[in-house]
């Protein structure tokens, strides 16, 4: 039997192409960073989901011990089976919505701008954009035991002219990203300065 394996590199390329289409990438633009929240921040939802999965099992054993003949009654049996099924399906949906909330928070850094996409639940999303040359201040902070151990934290990007401040929440390796942002911002500022100078001459 022939096995088809998609190389990782190709998948990354597909994803980058999708992202380029999503942000309407300009011809001179190059995607430098694609950041998401650290996966550990999603683990709390995984634990909650595991607890929800266990709840009907525990409930079943409690009912069986307290009322041994309860499952013999047909109507109660039907209600319990249908109820448990609805409970599980709702738990799957909740888990999926939480995953969406986690995974669709995305920060894309190109050599020209930062695009901040924040998903709130299922029907709310905010997208903001910031030119790299406008960046005035970049601060990274790592607070707490887990963030320190696993090296993740927030990065605050502030501008002087506009009132848009972008916060990269719980991203991996915030210090390195901060350095990269400052470097990219400097390069973009030099480019714009040169462009303005050429236009004036």
């Amino acid at each position: 039997m022939k096995m088809f394996r998609v190389p990782k590199m190709k998948l990354t390329l597909i994803s980058l192409m999708d992202i380029a289409r999503f942000i309407k990438k300009k011809s001179y633009e190059k995607i430098e960073l694609v950041l998401r929240r650290h996966v550990i921040t999603f683990l709390a939802h995984v634990f909650l989901f595991a607890l929800l999965m266990l709840a009907p099992v525990i409930f079943y054993f409690i009912l069986k011990n307290l009322f041994p003949g309860i499952f013999e009654m047909e109507i109660i049996y039907i209600f319990l089976v249908l109820g448990t099924s609805i409970f599980y399906m709702t738990a799957y949906l909740l888990f999926f919505v939480h995953f969406l909330d986690y995974y669709l928070d995305l920060w894309i850094v190109t050599n020209d701008r930062i695009i901040d996409i924040e998903q709130f639940g299922l029907f709310s999303r905010t997208i903001s954009e910031l030119d790299l040359f406008r960046i005035q201040d970049v601060t990274s902070n790592v607070h707490g035991f887990f963030p320190t151990m696993l090296n993740y934290g927030n990065i605050h990007v502030k501008t002087a002219s506009s009132n848009i401040d972008i916060v990269f929440r719980n991203v991996r390796d915030p210090n390195t990203i901060r350095e990269q942002l400052i470097k990219l911002s400097d390069e973009d500022r030099k480019f714009h300065y040169k462009q303005d100078k050429d236009e004036n001459q």
Binding site: S15, I78, L100
Partner: protein, 104 residues
């Protein structure tokens, strides 16, 4: 008042339709946000598989149920207020409850 059992099945099917709509909506969100990666594919697949398995087990556990049966939700006694009450049956052994009482 009684209702047929299949009305609960209809309610369950309505819930399943609601579930499928939300599932498709979330997959659509992931797709349009350029976030279709191995990780998101795995989660989508996991949730989909769990839902199919849950539906299969529900169907398997309820396969022997006669859905045409009727369930009595509550006894309707309110009409007796407006109807003539049924006569109380007479007991021959208890004096005073017979039609003809012998005073001798």
């Amino acid at each position: 008042m009684s209702i047929p059992l299949y009305s609960f099945l209809f309610a369950y099917i309505l819930f399943l339709i609601f579930f499928v709509i939300f599932y498709i909506l979330i997959v659509y969100h992931i797709h349009i946000s350029a976030s279709y990666t191995i990780f998101s594919f795995f989660i989508t697949f996991f949730v989909g598989t769990c839902a199919i398995l849950t539906f299969y087990f529900t169907w398997h556990l309820l396969s022997d149920v006669d859905w045409k049966k009727r369930v009595v939700l509550f006894e309707n006694n309110s009409m007796t207020l407006f109807e003539k009450p049924a006569p109380i049956p007479l007991d021959e052994n208890v004096p005073g409850t017979q039609d003809e009482v012998n005073f001798n």
